[in-house]
């Protein structure tokens, strides 16, 4: 009845499907087949990672994601902008359901993003700018760009996203496309690439009549989303960011006067793709067990003031295999209505996190709760119900020294009563 491991974020479930669907098909939706050649380096890298790519054009009539209840792909990469709507059965709603089923999506679009794509991005909490606008930066733009309207801007990779990118990227990341905005109280969306402080989002070539609604660091160029069931979605406002041209762009000269040998696009794009396709920052939890201290059996319910050993295995997917996860900030809570205990889990380097805790002096239906949420890593949520009962009638302490007077009084009382009875029975007093 008490399920061993309830992983609400179903990291375990994900891993199970991954393991047997390893390196499975990736659907690549392209606006036109040209992109296959212009972005060959990027796709080549993916192929090196071992993915088999299935190229389809966005308006392919036979485009479909699922066959009745079974999904045909595990990952979708979508480079599309102006398509009014996808062909076949793959529309924005279908893609959102694809994500809700725990699968991953890498989406790159452009200034001409269609409403279909807007709905798609809005569905994951990223609001693209209106059609036609682009990110323009008249102060720091890439020189010798083919265009003169300063739409090739350099974005900074956010430090917070280093877990996503596998480390900070100093080189400027060139970007040409549409900006997006993210709700301030958003919990799931992570801004990976943001525009410089002088950037604005406007229609190129048109004079600005009023202040731009979106400008400066708020302009999100690339956002990485990890949904609550650990599906990963990446929304990038620029298709060119992944192109060979931007990869090879060198030397990069960004006004004013900043000169870098090589653009950071290649590292950025490949790392981002690896994260999105669940090749990095993936955790799994297994073997959740809590036993009475010293023993190896899990009682149906603990007793107050018991000693309990709790342990759990956490592994990380690295280099194509599950490696022990190493972290010192994994915490365990012992909760009834509110946490009674919150302890750090210590790990031996083999991926087993464990601790010993003593049940508080309160009975009730407690829960072991492990809730581990770090940017770039899968959310881990473990909740284990563990009722705590009071003492049984025969588990209380016997013969407390403090009670000796009472024992004495009891026995003296018995003796006295006995004596009195004897006296009463055998001592006759003549009635007056």
């Amino acid at each position: 009845m008490r399920g061993r491991a309830t992983l609400l974020a179903c990291a375990l479930w994900l891993t199970v499907t991954r393991v047997q669907a390893q390196k499975s098909d990736v659907l690549v939706i392209l606006e036109d087949q040209q992109l296959k050649s212009t972005h060959s380096i990027f796709f080549g890298h993916l192929r090196q990672l071992g993915y088999q790519l299935d190229y389809r054009s966005a308006d392919d009539k036979k485009l479909q994601l699922r066959d009745w209840d079974s999904w045909l792909y595990d990952k979708v990469i979508c480079f599309a902008a102006a398509v009014p709507e996808f062909g076949g059965a793959a529309d924005a709603q279908a893609l959102l359901e694809f994500v809700d089923s725990g699968r991953d999506l890498l989406l790159a679009t452009d200034s001409s993003a269609s409403d279909e794509l807007r709905e798609l991005t809005a569905g994951v909490g990223v609001d693209l700018e209106p059609q036609g606008r682009a990110v323009i930066d008249h102060f720091s733009y890439a020189l010798q760009s083919l265009t003169v309207d300063h739409t090739v801007v350099s974005g900074q990779a956010a430090l917070a996203a280093s877990a996503v990118l596998g480390g900070p990227i100093e080189a400027p990341v060139l970007f040409r496309g549409i900006g997006a905005s993210v709700a301030p109280e958003s919990e799931l969306v992570l801004k990976v690439l943001t525009a410089g402080s002088t950037a604005i989002s406007a229609v190129p070539g048109k004079p600005l009549t009023e202040a731009p609604t979106l400008a400066g660091n708020e302009t999100t160029l690339t956002a990485a989303i990890q949904t609550r069931n650990n599906a990963r979605v990446t929304v990038c406002g620029s298709i060119d960011l992944f192109s060979n041209e931007f990869f090879r762009w060198s030397p990069v000269v960004v006004t004013p006067g900043q000169r870098v040998g090589q653009s950071g696009n290649r590292a950025f794009a490949t790392q981002l793709a690896e994260w999105t396709l669940q090749d990095r920052g993936r955790l799994r939890v297994s073997k959740v067990r809590h036993v009475l201290a010293g023993t190896s059996e899990t009682p149906q319910r603990y007793r107050i003031r018991d000693q309990v050993d709790f342990s759990v295995d956490i592994h990380e997917w690295r280099k194509g295999s599950w490696q022990p996860f190493k972290a010192d900030d994994v915490q365990l809570e012992f909760v009834m209505l509110h946490p009674y205990l919150r302890v750090n889990l210590a790990h031996n380097n083999k991926g087993t996190f464990s601790t010993r805790l003593s049940v508080p002096d309160v009975y009730g239906v407690f829960k072991f709760v492990l809730n581990y949420q770090r940017p770039g890593y899968s959310h881990l949520f473990v909740s284990e119900q563990a009722p705590v009962r009071p003492f049984k009638h025969d588990e209380y302490e016997r013969f407390i020294p403090a009670a000796f007077p009472y024992y004495a009084s009891t026995f003296s009382m018995m003796g006295g009563f006995f004596a009195l009875t004897l006296l009463f029975l055998y001592h006759k007093r003549p009635l007056p």
Partner: protein
């Protein structure tokens, strides 16, 4: 003990008279020839002692028991052998646990399926008498290789014990007024409606056995009072222990006995028999009561028990005074008396101060809320909404008396009068029992149950004497004294009241003086009525007697008819299965509750938590076997208030509260579809009150429109937006057009509902029973993706609104 024998001897005299009448009553009609024939037979002295009388008596009792058992089977005949409404399901569950796990595991049972996440220590918080009785019965039957399911045992336990109750009523009254009255009382008890209401087959509740225990304790107490033997005293203490472990109502006994003791002491009825009857019962009973976990130290700490100890002290004081009087010369005694009286006042003052100090220390003055609401009738309605909200705690109006004890309410005054002539210790006890019970029944309709046996005993005495007088008048030759009259009159004077002659042997002249006093009092009582002739030879005119006899007969027949009808029509409905009759006489059955609980049992995770109003907690745990937040054992007001607050809050807030409590399903009972009046909308104001009692953000006046509670379009927004309203009326408007052709017409409130387009965002409907009486909703998970967050920089809202704006369950399955 010669006194007891004499009493017996006189009792035997009038045995045949009453028992045959009662025997015929129990068959439902009285015909004159029989009873008059009996009177003739009773004229022959020797036949009275013959075995025939005893045999007839035994058969009469047997018939009464059979009647008492059978009249309670209507519920099984009309419906099925099923446990009734709410509390019985908990008792049934506990009994099942007892038979499965055994005695000690029940004692230490910590139940994590109720009051999540607090849990409840069952073993220490229940009165285990009922379950133990059922368990023992179950084991015995299985020992005899009768493989009967525990549910059947539970269903038929109450009728069985009501038969026992009739027997003990017979014994009780027999001790007071002899066999005839005893049989009469037994017959009344067997069918009294008030008791039937709590002991029909299937209502497996504490009262079922407790009332038997109550009367049995009284019988043993009176028996001890009459015989003065320690053996009976021990037996009564044991019976009292059984009563304590069966029902919280034992505090009635522990307060009634001291009253009687004091009354005896102060009316000069102090005797060694009283001492033997009272003192051991208090001592052993208190020690025994303290061993029941649920009572524990309350047996000496709660104010309900102080009266007993006080009377205990007074009793010893009186005995001591008597002893002093017996050893001191008269003059010295007078001096001592004045001395003691002056000193005693001071001591009493100090004692009172101490007790008041202790009592004032506790907020409720050391009384449990329920007993306080007895002493101060308006207490509960003011301070404890959770007690006042229970329907059986309401004060009764006059019709409920006639419904519940029918002609007995007319006989009680006569019974009181009967007990006053002559006044014996035993009849004094019956008087006190009757008076206190009738007072308490006036406060709570539930305590009508305590009144019923008292009314039966008093009514039995009255009816017996009445019929006796009438028949005597009918068959007597005018003004001709007949031997039987002396017999029966002398019987009236001294029945079951052993004359103090023998005890004066035992205790010297002091008790003799008391006896003098008692006699003197009797004289003064009589001397006021000197226009009476106390010879007892008088008769009422024969024609009057005839008419009276016919009227009495008709009245008794009417009583039986009423009881049968009430039992069949009013008290046999097991409130989980409902019936209606359409004009054609066809029966339509509403079995929604079991349907819904069955759905929960077979379609949800065994570990999931179900939230509902506390009325349905016991049923959910017993029938659906799921964890509930609150149930009918209302031990934690705050937790109940939390649920009430959630029900009274707007959807999002309620969703948050339920998620914090790990609730997965919310169950509401809704009657507007088929007109089932006692649904959650009608109980809603209590949720608001109880919730508001703890959480001040819930205010009752927000849910009232000009002080009136209404669900139509006049209803205030707080009500229209609260969760309970939404869950009850979700999708109701369309459906209501199918039953009543009108859009959104509520058949309970008889109005059009105020809000017909109800959409749920944080809950999804997963089950609605056939007649919509039970609706179950699932509490949705947090959304998988973030959509529709507030974003000031959003250029303009997307033209097509993303249809996946509502939270998704973890499985991502779109809601039906």
């Amino acid at each position: 003990m010669s006194s007891a024998q004499r009493a017996e001897g006189q009792l035997v005299k009038q045995k045949p008279v009453a028992q045959k009448e009662v025997a015929t009553i129990s068959n439902g009609d009285i015909d004159l020839p029989v009873s008059s024939a009996d009177l003739k037979s009773s004229r022959a002295e020797k036949l009275n002692r013959s075995a025939a009388a005893q045999i007839i008596n035994g058969f009469a009792l047997l018939g009464i028991c059979v009647l008492a058992f059978c009249i309670r089977l209507f519920s099984v005949v009309k419906y099925e052998s099923v446990i009734h409404e709410f509390d019985p399901y908990f008792n049934y569950r506990v009994t099942g646990f007892l038979t499965r796990e055994g005695f000690y595991n029940l004692w230490n049972w910590f139940d994590e399926h109720t009051w999540y996440p607090l849990g409840r220590v069952i073993g220490g918080t229940i009165y285990p008498g009922l379950m133990w009785t059922a368990g023992v019965l179950y084991n015995v039957l299985h020992l005899l290789n009768i493989p009967i399911h525990v549910q059947e045992v539970c269903v038929f336990l109450a009728p069985l014990f009501s038969a026992f109750c009739a027997l003990s009523a017979y014994l009780f009254v027999k001790e007071i007024r002899g066999q005839g009255a005893g049989l009469m009382a037994a017959a009344f008890t067997a069918v009294v409606p008030s008791y039937i209401s709590r002991s029909v087959a299937g209502s497996f509740d504490n009262e079922g056995v407790a009332i038997f225990a109550l009367i049995f304790v009284f019988y043993l107490y009176v028996k001890t009072l009459n015989t003065g033997s320690l053996a009976w005293a021990t037996a009564s203490a044991m019976a009292y222990l059984y009563m304590v472990m069966s029902w919280g109502g034992y505090s009635f006994i522990i307060n009634l006995l001291p009253i009687h003791c004091l009354a005896c002491v102060f009316t000069g009825r102090l005797s060694h028999r009283l001492y033997v009857a009272y003192a051991p019962l208090i001592v052993m009973g208190t020690i025994g009561a303290a061993m029941i976990p649920v009572v524990g130290f309350n047996a000496v700490l709660m104010s309900e028990h102080f009266g007993a100890f006080f009377a205990f002290g007074v009793l010893h004081g009186a005995l001591f005074i008597r002893y002093v009087k017996s050893v001191l010369p008269a003059k010295a005694y007078q001096a001592a008396k004045t001395l003691v009286l002056t000193g005693g006042v001071a001591i009493i003052g100090v004692l009172l101060a101490l007790i008041t100090g202790y009592v004032m220390a506790s907020p409720t003055f050391g009384w449990t809320g329920r007993s306080l609401s007895l002493l101060d009738p308006t207490y509960a309605s003011k301070y404890i909404p959770i007690i006042a909200s229970v329907s059986e705690h309401q004060p009764p109006a006059w019709p409920s008396y006639f419904t519940d004890i029918h002609v007995l309410v007319l006989l009680v005054p006569a019974g009181l009068a009967a007990c006053f002539r002559p006044l014996s210790d035993a009849s004094l006890f019956l008087i006190l029992y009757g008076v206190t019970a009738v007072y308490f029944s006036g406060v709570m309709v539930r305590l009508m149950l305590v009144l019923a046996p008292a009314a039966c005993c008093l009514g039995g005495v009255a009816a017996h004497e009445f019929l006796l007088a009438l028949t005597r008048a009918i068959r007597a030759p005018n003004l001709a004294p007949s031997p039987v009259t002396d017999a029966s009159v002398s019987l009236l004077d001294t029945a079951a009241a052993p004359s103090p002659a023998p005890k004066s042997k035992g205790k010297g002249k002091s008790s003799a003086a008391k006896a003098e006093k008692a006699k003197g009092k009797g004289v003064t009582a009589e001397s006021m009525f000197d226009f009476l002739d106390t010879s007892g030879k008088g008769r009422i005119p024969r024609d009057v007697a005839w008419i009276g006899l016919v009227a009495a007969t008709l009245g008794l027949i009417f009583y039986i008819g009423h009881c049968v009808w009430v039992s069949a029509e009013m008290y046999s409905a097991p409130s989980i299965v409902l019936q209606t009759r359409d004009p054609q006489g066809g029966v339509h059955v509403f079995d929604d509750f079991r349907e819904a609980y069955g759905w929960l049992r077979f379609n949800t995770d065994p570990n999931c938590k179900v939230a509902s109003w506390w009325d349905y907690g016991y049923q959910t745990t017993a029938m659906a076997n799921r964890t509930v937040l609150v149930d009918n054992n209302t031990w934690n007001n705050t937790h109940i208030a939390t649920v009430g607050r959630a029900m009274a809050s707007p959807e999002k807030k309620a969703w948050q509260i339920y998620r914090d409590l790990d609730t997965e399903y919310v169950l509401v009972v809704f009657g507007g579809f088929i007109g089932y009046p006692s649904d959650d909308i009608n109980k809603f104001l209590w949720m608001v009150r109880i919730g508001g009692g703890v959480f001040p953000d819930i205010k009752e006046k927000d849910y009232l429109a000009q002080g009136s509670y209404r669900v139509d379009d006049q209803a205030p927004p707080a009500l229209l937006n609260c969760l309970m309203y939404k869950l009850s009326y979700y999708r109701f408007a369309e459906a209501s057009t199918m039953v009543t052709g009108r859009y959104g017409f509520d058949r309970v409130r008889n109005t059009m509902i105020g809000k017909t387009d109800i959409s749920l965002q944080y809950f999804e409907e997963v089950f609605t029973s056939e007649h919509w009486m039970v609706r179950i909703y699932r509490v949705l998970d947090r959304p998988n993706r973030e959509t529709k967050l507030k974003n000031p920089r959003r250029a303009k809202p997307p033209r097509r609104s993303s249809s996946s704006s509502r939270p998704r369950s973890a499985s991502g399955a779109p809601p039906k």
